[in-house]
């Protein structure tokens, strides 16, 4: 049995796990300790395992449950903040000459019908960190019931060939739409499932109740909200990504949920700024794991107040270098900008389509309003424009769909009855034109460990994320402000 607790080195004050343990292979016999730390692009990501120690031997999160050799851990790696970066995918291709189960035909390639030994058949995963998500057409609701689609769908561009494929595409006997998305981190899930308020302001109704538990569902699981519970998400993932046919074992699901709800991930140190819980700051996963989830930002609970200490006189001492102090002050300014810098939010379905008006002046934390995590308590189905034309950045590698709304239904509130999109998002769950391109706002934690960003990987870096918002909403950030916000996001 390999144990990764012995530490090979330390970095900016954080003990790092052994390099050899960076890739957690499915089926391995290891122990996941209470804390794991890995270097990433800007510092150190730390995973807390509150259920430690966890033996991976036979554990359903770490064990291939189906024929393709995949396990949950394949795409939810501790070193990548419990997600998977494009860089890690490339490293696995190199290490295994493309034979790692990560590249399974079902979703680790651009389409299962392509020659799987050809590297180009996996270009979306290798270049953008994207997995194929096949959604049924017509759509199915959150509970699996068929819904009436308010729109028809045509494939305008199909660079992967999968949407036109006679086995896997729309022409197949079981029509499917293939979209390509980043894996969401399996960490900090008490925030993902938190219900702050009973009502969902985006549709005016109380949040739906899970018939099994009697609890309200947060609506924040998965980018298209196709699963309402972690159990539903695990079942969906086992049947799709792990290619398991038939129902999952209840015991396996229970063990997976028990494990993943005890996992917290956050940056714990920065190469320049040092430890994120020093000098008056409260960054890192320990605070995150202990804090109450589902809290709406307010003057009593400001968003990213964890870093306010770095803006205060006396935050630095004689051991704080000028470079370190400068970085920390930048992070604190970034947190303040995130809260206080307002701009005109416009033409954004899920925000301006409510009764706030279009435009409405507000800040980043208008939508990223759950403290500690940056998700939307509402919940967060919003058409930011990352997948819908004309706001989407050029993405020639992705399919393009033309969705035409039936005139008897309300059209997309800002794009009208015909929408061109790379990913219809939430509309593939609800069937509604108003939901085309809405993608659930995701966790902002552990970002430095898992580029690229946005659901379709269109932002290669955190700076790209800021620049997208700056363009989309014509905010007019200065160079310093963009750097401050980038630094903030790098330490979450």
């Amino acid at each position: 049995m390999a144990v990764c607790v012995p530490l090979a080195t330390s970095l900016v004050g954080v003990a790092l796990s052994e390099t050899s343990a960076r890739w957690w292979a499915p089926g391995a016999d290891q122990i996941l300790p209470g804390s794991l730390s890995y270097a990433d692009e800007t510092g150190v990501i730390t995973i807390l395992n509150l259920g430690a120690p966890t033996s991976t031997r036979g554990h359903p999160f770490f064990t291939p449950l189906g024929p393709n050799g995949r396990a949950c851990v394949t795409c939810h790696q501790p070193s990548d903040g419990m997600s998977l970066s494009a860089a890690t995918a490339q490293a696995r291709w190199q290490a295994t000459e493309g034979k790692d189960p990560l590249f399974a035909a079902i979703d680790g390639s651009n389409c299962p019908s392509l020659p799987q030994s050809d590297k180009d058949s996996h270009s979306l995963l290798l270049q953008h960190g994207l997995f194929r998500i096949a959604r049924p057409w017509p759509p199915l609701e959150i509970d699996g019931k068929p819904v009436v689609a308010q729109f028809s769908i045509e494939v305008i561009r199909d660079p992967t060939g999968c949407n036109s494929d006679k086995v896997y595409g729309l022409p197949s006997p079981h029509p499917m739409i293939s979209v390509f998305r980043r894996p969401r981190p399996v960490a900090n899930l008490k925030y993902v499932t938190a219900v702050g308020y009973d009502f969902e302001p985006k549709n005016g109704l109380p949040l739906p109740i899970d018939a099994k538990t009697g609890r309200r569902m947060s609506g924040n699981i998965l980018s298209d909200s196709r699963a309402g519970t972690l159990e539903g998400q695990a079942s969906d993932a086992i049947s799709s990504h792990l290619d398991v046919h038939g129902n999952s074992s209840a015991a396996e699901i229970k063990t997976i949920l028990e494990f993943e709800t005890h996992i917290f991930a956050a940056q714990s140190a920065d190469f320049v700024g040092g430890l994120l819980n020093e000098g008056g700051a409260l960054g890192g996963p320990v605070t995150l794991a202990a804090a109450k989830p589902g809290v709406l930002k307010s003057s009593q609970h400001p968003q990213w107040e964890e870093f306010d200490g770095w803006s205060k006189p006396g935050a630095a001492n004689e051991s704080t270098s000028l470079q370190q102090r400068t970085f920390r002050e930048s992070v604190a300014r970034g947190a303040a900008l995130f809260r206080d810098r307002t701009f005109l939010v416009s033409d954004t379905a899920g925000i301006n389509s409510m009764n706030f008006g279009n435009p409405t002046r507000d800040g980043c934390n208008f939508c990223h309003n759950m403290t500690r995590i940056g998700m939307d308590l509402a919940p967060g189905q919003v058409d930011l424009g990352t997948t819908n034309e004309p706001h989407a950045d050029p993405q020639p590698d992705l399919p393009l769909f033309k969705l035409t709304c039936d005139p008897k239904y309300p059209p997309h509130p800002f794009l009208g009855p015909v929408v061109y999109t790379h990913d219809p998002g939430f509309a593939l769950t609800t069937g509604k034109c108003a939901d085309i391109g809405k993608i659930t706002i995701q966790s902002m934690r552990g970002l430095a460990a898992r580029p690229p960003y946005f659901s379709n990987g269109s932002a290669r870096s955190l700076r790209d994320v800021i620049e997208y918002y700056n363009r989309r909403y014509q905010i007019g950030y200065t160079e310093q402000e963009m750097q401050d916000l980038t630094n903030l996001m790098s330490v979450l």
């Binding site: 005016g204 589902g294 009764n355 008006g357 509130p413």
Partner: protein, 265 residues
Amino acid sequence: MRLAAIAAIVLTAASAGTVIAADTAASGPMAHSPVSFIACPVYRDTNNGRKSGCWLATDMATGVRYDIGGGRTKPQIGRDVLVEGVLGEGANACGGEILLPVHVSVLQTTCSAVMLPAEGYPGRVFQVPKNGYLPPADVVRPLPPGPYTSRDWHIEFNFQSDFLAYQYSEVILDDAARYIRASRPRHVEVTGYADTSPYVISGRQLIEPRSLGEQRAKMVAEALLRLGVDPGLLHVNWHVDPAAINADDGMAEPSKRRVTIHIEI
């Protein structure tokens, strides 16, 4: 008599939906007098903090520009709005006569998207809506104590909409559901209404489809079910053209576009 008939007599319309002039301009607005018109809204970006912007609309029948941003629904630039309000009082923070209370319904018809700079106006300070917020879900609240009586709740909707408006509807629904759960009435009647009698405002004929009463009733019934109301108690009905009620803000016309929840103890 319809408000529209009082507010504006359209003299000429060059094309459908275009109002050229009216005969009420000379008199000017009077405090507490009802006003209703259709207009293309203008956003004034006062850039004075979150939700500080102003919404203005000019009644072309009178030439008066109104501040219409005080209602629960804000306009969308580039989309016509139906404005129904009462001339209110207060500081001119936006550059228009204040309508308060005011109901704004965003229409499907498009118009020019216009934004103005602050021009020295400070804009509005965001305020908690009149009927407040609900507390967070984890706040334990005892159910209302008895004795209980038969009673009604009314939820208003915007013109041609079944959307349950945020920071308004949920407070009423929550109150009704908690009272129902506490009082265990003999039955709960949810009745949706649509205003299907055509009428003219700003030269444009307005009418709601008959089906909207059903849609509104079903939305409210679904909300009550999700709030724990026994489905066996619910009776869902829909009708058209109800009488106006004494709505809490004194606006009769918008009160016809409503759902009434009635419980019988």
